[in-house]
Amino acid sequence: MPAGRRGPAAQSARRPPPLLPLLLLCVLGAPRAGSGAHTAVISPQDPTLLIGSSLQATCSVHGDPPGATAEGLYWTLNGRRLPPELSRVLNTSTLALALANLNGSRQQSGDNLVCHARDGSILAGSCLYVGLPPEKPFNISCWSKNMKDLTCRWTPGAHGETFLHTNYSLKYKLRWYGQDNTCEEYHTVGPHSCHIPKDLALFTPYEIWVEATNRLGSARSDVLTLDILDVVTTDPPPDVHVSRVGGLEDQLSVRWVSPPALKDFLFQAKYQIRYRVEDSVDWKVVDDVSNQTSCRLAGLKPGTVYFVQVRCNPFGIYGSKKAGIWSEWSHPTAASTPRSERPGPGGGACEPRGGEPSSGPVRRELKQFLGWLKKHAYCSNLSFRLYDQWRAWMQKSHKTRNQVGRRDPSPSPLPTGPAR
């Protein structure tokens, strides 16, 4: 592939100005006849330079009456007065400036180099663009959501800091035929990303690359070749439910539905489950869940609230041999394991009955949990009253089961986490 090329570190090419239209006559830099005022012209106008390079500039004064002098003129750069030793009077009407080892531009619209009269009034200005040419973008990755679109992300070369506005353009074409196309929807999943929403072909490879361009040159990434079917992802599994497994203290049952968008396509889905204890940030991952839509988590702590998420990898679509791309995790679903029935601290005997106004540690913690759920899990109807109703119902159904004896260890229809 062609290496990134650097443009000349020279003044940017400017379109030759037309005859000054009326508006421009009124803009800074044009003399006002008969006014006794002076104006000036800075050369070069709006140069583009490499970081570390030098600049020689001049400010030439003209005006009415003629013979305006360069004595007393001075320069500022971004509002700061430049030391007089950097300037010298070239002739009666021209003041020169020498800047060395330029730093990168402070703002993308250009550094403001201004020539002032003795009284501080502005005579002329020029904007400097000091930066670096772009480096080769790299690390392009793409994925297709349900084979309908393609989103790509990349890393800009040199961490993106060129001090100049750098334009990134994602290009793509069918490998063996077709013209170059340019992606149009940028910044969809971050600053260096683009989304192609439609008109994508399957079963034929695409070539994808990124071109970076700024005033100092351009660079092109390596080409990524891919088939849409090899980079498919999908939505997270919907309808994730987590429930107790009867009275088993250390188990929870997780059920979900396979993503509906791909249900008509031949593929084998892989799933992953992750879960964590309420107060922990450490997730445990269950990896070995292939093509099933339920799983039983075991070895859990009794009387503990767990958050559970599921994600899907639709590998093997239409016979693709590639791994596929994991979906996002589903919204967290919460459930708690039954409390241990052994007596002791934290045992159920110490819990206040439903309806009692006691504000023990369990209820305090539950209140915090309900507040968090309302905020994060889009479930505004949770309340202590609902929890107490549930406890009363649980006690009643537990009594009933004890009377008739344990029959079926299938999970009891407990309220699970909030619906997504």
């Binding site: 508006l23 619209s109 334009n167």
Partner: protein
């Protein structure tokens, strides 16, 4: 509504009462002008910030040169009859949108990663049009609509477009500052002039 020749200041003759809906319209337009004046302040602040120093520095004073097709409110503006002031306000508001559009196009090249500034400039053009139309509607309702030839915004737009594209970057920054400043000045002037029409305002 009673049509009157001469002065448009209803409150100058206490025997004339504005129709309630006309009074409501004046209040509404005055409120709009007040709101847009605040937006214009924000636009100006964002603009100077993105051009870099010295644009945002206190004491920065580039030459206030006139812009073709639009000038600042004259010192004599306040002494004119209110209908004449509002006509000038409406004319200025009609001249502003192409200038603001030209500034936006130039800023799209200079500050492409400043979507908020670009959106504010786009909104400003639209809002100037809306307020200008509202003022003209009021003038028509008050029987003082301008029947003579008007300034031609398309010519100003063409000049603004070509000039903005051709000028150096620093002059373009200064021009944009000037246009944003004029926008704020004319909105503030319009708000003040409309306030004169409100019942209880000064005659």
């Amino acid at each position: 509504m009673s049509r009157r020749e001469g002065s448009l200041a209803p409150q100058a003759d206490s025997s004339v009462s504005l129709l309630p809906h006309l009074e409501a319209k004046i209040r509404q337009t005055h409120s709009l002008a007040h709101l847009l004046t605040k937006y214009a302040e924000q636009l100006l602040q964002e603009y100077v910030q993105l051009q870099g120093d010295p644009f945002g520095l206190p004491g920065f004073s580039p030459p206030r040169l006139p812009v073709a097709g639009l000038s600042a409110p004259a010192p004599s503006h306040a002494g004119l009859p209110v209908h004449e002031r509002l006509r000038l306000d409406a004319a200025a508001l009609a001249a502003l949108p192409p200038l603001l559009d030209a500034v936006r196009r130039r800023q799209a090249e200079l500050n492409p990663r400043a979507p908020r500034l670009l959106r504010r400039l786009e909104d400003a053009a639209r809002q100037a049009r809306a307020l200008g139309a509202a003022v003209e509607a009021l003038l028509a309702a008050l029987g003082a609509a301008n029947r003579g030839p008007r300034a031609e915004p398309p010519a100003a737009a063409a000049a603004a477009t070509s000039a903005s594209a051709a000028s150096g970057v620093f002059p373009a920054k200064v021009l944009g500052l000037r246009v944003c400043g004029l926008y704020r000045e004319w909105l503030s002037r319009t708000e003040g002039d409309l306030g004169q029409l409100l019942p209880g305002g000064p005659a």
